[in-house]
Structures are given as C-alpha cells and as structure tokens.
Amino acid sequence: MTPDQVIFILCAAVIVVTAIMVVTSPNLIHAALWLIATLFGVAILYALLQAGFLALVQVVIYIGAIAILFIFAVMLTRREMRDKGPQLNKNWALAAILAVLTFGGLFYILSGWSGFSGKAAEIPAGMDTLRNLGFALVSPDAYLLPFEVASILLLAALIGAIYIASASKK
C-alpha cells in the first residue's frame, strides 16, 4: 500500500464514522462539531486529489462560515441543547433500504467505469491548476455563463437579506 492509500483509508473511515455521529448524536452542538470533522475529512480528500484550492475553500466556507454559524444559531436560539424526542421515525426502514439501494446502484455503475480501478493521471510539473481554474471561470468557452448566473443569484440573495433586515425595523 502506498502512503496515499493509507491516508485515504484513514480519512474515509473518519468521514464515515463522523458522518454517522452527526445524525446519531442527540446533542445539537456535538452534532455540529462532528459535522465539522466530516467536512474536514472531505477537505483532506480534495487535497489528496491535488485539488488544494477546493480543499481550502471547503475549510473556509464550510467550516469557517457555515458550520460556525450553525453553532452560533443553535447556541443563541435553544435553551436545551439536547433533543428529547425519539431519533427515528417510522419510515426508518424504508430510508435504510433506499440508502443501501442508492449506494449499490452507484457502486454498480462505477464498477463498470474504466477509471474505477485505474490510477489518477499525474499533474504535469509546472502546471498551475489555480491559474487554469481562474481562466476557465472567466472564459466564454468554459464556465463564464454559469459563473455569472451564480454571481447574480448571490447578489439577489444579498439584496433580499438587506431588504428583510431593514424592513423589520419599521
């Protein structure tokens, strides 16, 4: 086994275990902290795939902003951190079957794909992936349109948030 594989297996195990802890932990703050561990594990996976930019954006956005705001909101709004109710509802069996079927289906489809057992191609030395990503986001042949649409969506959300916040003052 190469060191990369060892890191991958450790990382995947951490992601699976912490993801299970997110949904089984009755304490909301604990669940949020487990979620941070899961997100961090995913960031390590990105780093293993040589996508350093994606890994760091994952940490900055998901851990630095979203998960911390989760915790903030939970701490501000709830007196009791512990969920008292049952953790499963009556559809749990159906949900479990669906989850297993989805996993099986994905596994079946991917196992027929040639890249499933192959090795990832080496990134040629001297290639600046970050620069390429930047050019792709603003070049008309690549992702200019989706990028601009996403920007307008975010701008609309910002304006909406400002409107809601200022309207409540009256």
Binding site: P3, F53, V60, G64, I68, F72, M75, T129, L130
Partner: protein, 406 residues
C-alpha cells in the same frame, strides 16, 4: 548544494539516504523524513512561543513604565521557564457541568490553528514547510479553526461569561474576515500569485507597503481583530466578562491559549512582513550587487524575516497597550459601514490600476499616489459626515433642566 546555501534540503536528502540505507522503501523514507520535518517546524514555532512570553512581558512592562521580569537569568530571560513550571504544577480544574471532551480539546485546537499556519511561513527562500499556490487562502482557513476553538471553549465551560466571550469572538471574526480577505487579495493581485514565496520574491524591487499603504492598514486592523487583541479584545474583556472564553481554564490548558495567542500575534507580524515588507528579501535590488550577495543566503534571510516579524509583532503590541477597548456596536459599525466598503473600493482600484499602469514607467508612483488620493477623499467624506452629524446634534439638542427647579 552545500549546507550554507540550502540547509533543509541537504539534511532531508541525507536523512532519506540513511533511511534507505537501512533497507527502507523510497516512499516510506520520504514519508518519515516529512514527518520529522513537520516536528521540526512545530518545535521551532513552540521555541519561539517560549521566547515571546518574555518579549511580551518585557514590552508591556515598558509601555506601563515598569521593569518587567528581571530576576531569573540575564534580563529575566529564563522567566518563561519558571512560568511553564508554575503552569504545569497548578491544579487542573474541570468545572462542574462542563462538556469534558470539548473542554479539553479547545486549547489544543487553539494552539494547533496557529501552528498550522507555520506550515506555509516562508522563513527564507530555501527554508519553509511547504510552498503551496493557495497559501493566502490557507491562512484564512487556519483562522477558521481559531474561531472554532474559541466557540468550543466558550460553550463547553458551562459559564455565562465564557459563552458571552465566545459570541463576541464569533461576531468579530465573521465581520473582520471580509476586510481581511480583501486586504490579502491586494498583494495577490500585485504579485499575481497566492504563493507566499513568490509574493516575497515579487517584492525584491519595491515593498508592497509602498504600492498599497491602505492595503497594509486594512490588513493590520483586520489582523488585530482576528487576533482578538486590544482594541478588539471584546472576547476576553477583563472589566466586563472577567476573562471571557478562557475563564474556566487552569494551569497548562490556559497556558496553551496564552502561547497560542502570542504565537498568533507574532505570526501575523510575520505575515505583515511577507505581504507588505518583502518577507525574507526585499532589499530594493541590493542583493544583486556583488558586494551584497550574502543577503541571498538562507540563514541571513531567516534572520531578516524574524526581525521583520518581531517589528510587526511590536506594532501589534504597541497598539494593544495604547488603545482602549472598542464597544461591540462600534466594532460592528466600524467594520460594516467603513472598513468593508473601503476594502472593496480599494480592491477594485488596485486591480484596475495594476493592469492600467503595469506597462507604463510610473507604476510605483501611480499606485502610491492613487492610494494617497483615495485616503484623502475618504478622510474628506468622513469629515463632512461628522460635521453634518454634529450640526444635527446641536440643532436637536434639548436644554437640560436643572434638578433644583423641581
């Protein structure tokens, strides 16, 4: 490749050779060498942290017209070791009702978030942990763990003061992250890269502090806010919430927060040097002359970097011990109504001028003068605004009746 020119690579090659001589596989030997390298960086950062305890106590004493520690060793240099022994033998108290695991993990994550940054600190052109092309973002990402540790400490202590401290810290961090990221984008735009080594090298001719003095100012303000130091020390405001988020921590657990804070401040001093003062280099082209070629030596560069970082750290301390604490609503208004718009306009201006002036001969002077002009316009706007507000206040002021009339 000699020890004098490239010490780290030479030692790691030598170690790898020894491990492979023992019959180890090549990639296993590389992994073990890298792990040793990680430990060396951590030890180096921790050794600096011990030294910083002494520096901080000496400097604060001078600012307050005292002598500071002067009993143990020359100039009190061994005081930190006495402090460490004291912290270790103190009773370790976990408060009743605390969330034990999170309570004990918080100081570790706090210190780790700072040591993580040291992976990308370019101490010299040949001495650094790793040179990644997204290092600027990495700095922001490591800061996220610092926030996380404060929240964990504040929440798990089961103490209202700690929780209030954590809330304030999150409010500060989430607000000041925006001017911080924008201020970091300015050297990125000018250098055209996010690699700290290349940003340092790009300043061999002229420091970015001259190209973007306002960017430097923005970075210093938002860095102090991110550090949670005065005037942004709302998270541990002693006069209001006793000690804030670390109120329940005793002994070495408190020591980890303390060491983390000092090292963090020093690290940001280092980043001030990297982004705006040339990092390990930046001798204005002097190193190209034959008589000054020794300036390119990694050991000299490392000393230069550490001196620049200490000067930056000293500025942060100077501000800390001279400024009163800012009120929380002022802190938020200052960020959202002033710093954030300023940062965005400055970013657009820098990006535009960088492209427009790059082919011309007056790039440096143009960038510098445009920054001055922009600062002047901002100050004029502020002045007219404050005049208006003062006139408005005087107009609407109501006469106060004397108590004796009733």
């Amino acid at each position: 490749m000699t020890f004098w020119n490239d010490p780290i690579n030479l030692i790691s090659e030598w170690l790898r050779g020894i491990f492979m001589g023992w019959g180890m596989a090549a990639n296993l030997a590389m992994v073990i060498t890298n792990i040793i390298g990680i430990f060396v960086i951590i030890l180096f950062a921790m050794a600096i942290a011990i030294f910083l305890v002494w520096v901080e106590r000496k400097v604060v004493a001078r600012f307050q017209d005292r002598l500071g520690p002067n009993r143990i060793g020359p100039f009190g240099l061994f005081q930190p070791f006495a402090d460490i022994v004291k912290l270790i033998i103190k009773e370790d108290i976990t408060p009743e009702g605390a969330d034990k695991l999170i309570f004990n993990m918080a100081p570790v994550i706090s210190l780790a978030s700072v040591i993580l940054i040291w992976a990308v600190v370019p101490l010299a052109s040949q001495i650094y942990g790793v040179d990644i092309n997204v290092a600027v973002l990495y700095l922001v990402a490591a800061g996220a763990f610092g926030t996380l540790s404060v929240i964990m400490a504040g929440w798990s202590s089961n103490n209202k003061y700690a929780l209030i401290g954590a809330f304030r810290m999150v409010a500060t961090m989430i607000s000041y992250e925006i001017p911080m990221v924008v201020a970091l984008l300015i050297p990125t735009i000018i250098a055209g890269t996010m690699s700290l080594k290349e940003i340092s090298n790009a300043q061999n001719g002229i420091w970015f502090a001259f190209l973007s003095p306002l960017g430097l100012l923005l970075f210093v303000i938002s860095a102090i806010a991110e550090l949670g130091r005065s005037p942004f020390d709302l998270n541990e405001a002693e006069s209001e919430i006793v000690a804030g988020f670390h109120i329940e921590y005793t002994g070495m657990k408190f020591g980890l927060f303390y060491a983390g804070e000092l090292l963090h401040a020093f690290t940001f001093g280092g980043f001030m040097a990297v982004f705006f003062f040339g990092g390990y280099g930046g001798f204005f082209g002097l190193e190209k002359l034959a008589a000054f070629s020794w300036l390119s030596n990694p050991f000299i560069q490392m000393v230069v970097f550490l001196i620049k970082a200490l000067i930056g750290y000293w500025v942060i301390m100077w501000i800390k011990y001279s400024m009163p604490r800012i009120r929380i609503d002022h802190m938020l208004a200052f960020n959202w109504k002033f710093l954030t718009p300023l940062a965005f306009v400055l970013l657009m201006m820098t990006a535009l001028l960088d492209k427009l002036l790059a082919p011309t001969n007056f790039y440096v002077s143009g960038m510098f003068i445009s920054n001055l002009l922009f600062a002047w316009i901002v100050i004029e706007i502020l002045r007219s605004r404050s005049k208006q507000e003062r006139a408005h206040d005087i107009e609407h002021a109501e006469p106060v009746e004397l108590a004796a009339h009733h």
